[in-house]
């Protein structure tokens, strides 16, 4: 009971702050009535408009679908590759300059190439998300592998594990805490990239909803509604990974070392 009271109390301050912000927003809009920019009330109506057509569900599902594929693809390529590269430090040295050149290139710069290779459609968007997630994840895995305490590796070698088995039975579990953090950050990037990709490379999803609402008659209420939904879904995704992270930390008591 006491814990619950504390929990609801922790919601009080942010809740109040959001109310104050909404009030300020509404006030600003009332003071400048000829703006195209909608107030919170009109935005809420915009969201309500999107619900009955099932549009909103369709767009959210389309965006989450692309993020899932692009993200998982990046995980399945970057994690094994990162384990190998982190393990064989020489390979890392060969790869490093290439990684450092590719890293500052925004995933959005790949949009023309994505369309060139995959045309306008899901594949182009998935590719862009993959590109956006792959490098940060690879670098996170490499540095996590190099941070694995030598004593775990020595113990593994002592039991006669071959390098491949050692990667699976020692390195992979040992990096999980840091991997979880990397995954969370990367999923955030994926969610940023999908919106941008959908503005150009496809005609569905939350990013498309936003440009489309603007192009089709300056429906800025729908634009802002789309933004709010992007924020909320992004928060839910982050919370999902975060709870996974916490479950793991709890199980292994890894928090202080992660």
């Amino acid at each position: 009971m006491g814990k619950n009271a504390l929990k609801s109390h922790s919601w009080l301050k942010p809740g109040l702050f959001i109310l104050v912000l909404l009030g300020a927003w509404q006030l600003a809009i009332t003071l400048h009535p000829r703006q195209l920019m909608p107030g919170p009330w009109k935005t809420a109506q915009g969201i309500a408009d999107l619900v009955p057509h099932g549009l909103i569900v369709k767009d959210v599902v389309a965006s989450v679908f692309r993020v899932t594929w692009g993200f998982l693809l990046a995980v399945f390529v970057a994690v094994p590759l990162g384990l190998v590269v982190g393990w064989y430090r020489r390979a890392e040295m060969a790869l490093n300059p290439v990684l450092q050149i590719l890293r500052p290139i925004s995933p959005l710069a790949w949009i023309p190439i994505a369309i060139l290779w995959f045309g306008v459609g899901d594949l182009a968007a998935v590719f862009l998300i993959f590109v956006g997630c792959f490098l940060p994840l690879l670098l996170a895995v490499i540095s996590a592998v190099q941070g694995v305490p030598a004593v775990y590796i020595d113990a593994g070698r002592n039991f006669g594990l071959s390098p491949l088995v050692l990667m699976r039975r020692i390195l992979l579990p040992a990096i999980v805490p840091r991997l979880m953090t990397g995954l969370r950050i990367t999923l955030g990037i994926a969610w940023l990239v999908v919106v941008a990709a959908e503005m150009i490379a496809v005609n569905s999803g939350l990013g498309f909803l936003i440009v489309d609402a603007r192009n089709a008659g300056n429906r800025y209420d729908l634009v802002v509604a789309g933004m709010v939904i992007i924020g909320v879904v992004g928060l839910l995704l982050d919370n999902g990974v975060r709870s996974l992270e916490r479950a793991n930390a709890l199980r292994w008591g890894f928090e202080e070392k992660g």
């Binding site: 002592n158 020692i170 292994w252 008591g253």
Partner: protein, 267 residues
């Protein structure tokens, strides 16, 4: 100094009188640090008998842990040879398990998972049986499903010892295994290690900087001097187990080693 070394090298034969299990011949180790050569070990000649319990004793920085790592195959000596069963040691091997301080326990596995780690080639039934046997031996019944962070330091140390025993090695290397434990737990663990050694008869090489620990546990104490690490003297401990740690012979041996290290027994 060199006279004592000569004297030491003549007393190298294993006290147990049995077969030689491990033999180092003229082992030297030089580390390269910032372009400078740092001699860590010099001229290490040692024979350890099968089933013998030998302590490597010396001040910190005397290279005793380095010597142990080289014997276990984690480091290659710069000169000389280390042989186990007349075979040159070329790398770590499941027949010889290194026990770290409790740091070596895998935090992502339960007690069961840790102890069964080296048994993946056994059938499930055999593995479970072996794991349970060693869980009982180290007194961790009831903690099979616990993760290491739920255990005390002494319990984690037991997990590591059990994990090593489970693969039935001939040799166990222990690097200050009880160094991080409180003094009461340390005493209990020493007793348990001796009990296990009496039943399992492994060859044990045990690194410590604690003179009492060395005299309480081992058949022979290898006293090392620092920088570069050399064998200063090898002291056979001729007190039968269980050892009375207030007997005159015990105190005599302990004081002798204290004298060897150059510390009179007064502060």
């Amino acid at each position: 100094m060199s006279a004592t070394e000569k004297a030491a090298s003549t007393t190298e034969a294993p006290a147990s009188g049995g077969r030689v299990k491990l033999r180092t011949t003229n082992v030297g180790m030089i580390f390269q640090r910032d372009g400078k050569s740092l001699p860590v070990l010099e001229n290490i000649d040692l024979e350890v008998g099968d089933g013998e319990f030998v302590c490597l004793l010396g001040p910190s920085g005397c290279g005793k842990s380095t010597l142990l790592s080289a014997m276990a195959g984690f480091l290659t000596p710069t000169s000389g040879k280390i042989r186990i069963d007349d075979e040159i040691v070329r790398g770590p091997d499941p027949r010889r398990i290194f026990v770290f301080q409790e740091r070596g326990v895998f935090p992502w596995l339960t007690v069961e998972g840790n102890i069964g780690f080296g048994l993946s080639n056994l059938s499930r039934g055999e593995r479970v049986q072996r794991v349970n046997h060693y869980i009982k031996m180290v007194g961790l019944e009831g903690f099979e499903r616990s993760y290491p962070h739920e255990l005390s330091g002494g319990m984690k140390q037991r997990v590591e010892v059990a994990r090593a025993l489970a693969v039935n090695p001939d040799v166990m290397f222990l690097d200050e295994p009880f160094g991080a434990l409180d003094s009461i737990t340390r005493l209990i663990m020493r007793g348990e290690l001796l009990r296990i050694w009496h039943t399992e008869r492994k060859t044990i090489l045990f690194v410590t900087h604690d003179i009492d620990e060395a005299v309480q546990l081992s058949d022979r104490v290898v006293v090392m001097s620092a920088r570069p690490g050399r064998i200063q003297q090898i002291v056979p401990i001729d007190i039968p187990h269980p050892r009375d740690i207030s007997s005159p012979r015990y105190l005599e041996l302990r004081d002798g080693i204290l004298g060897q290290i150059g510390l009179a027994h007064r502060l």
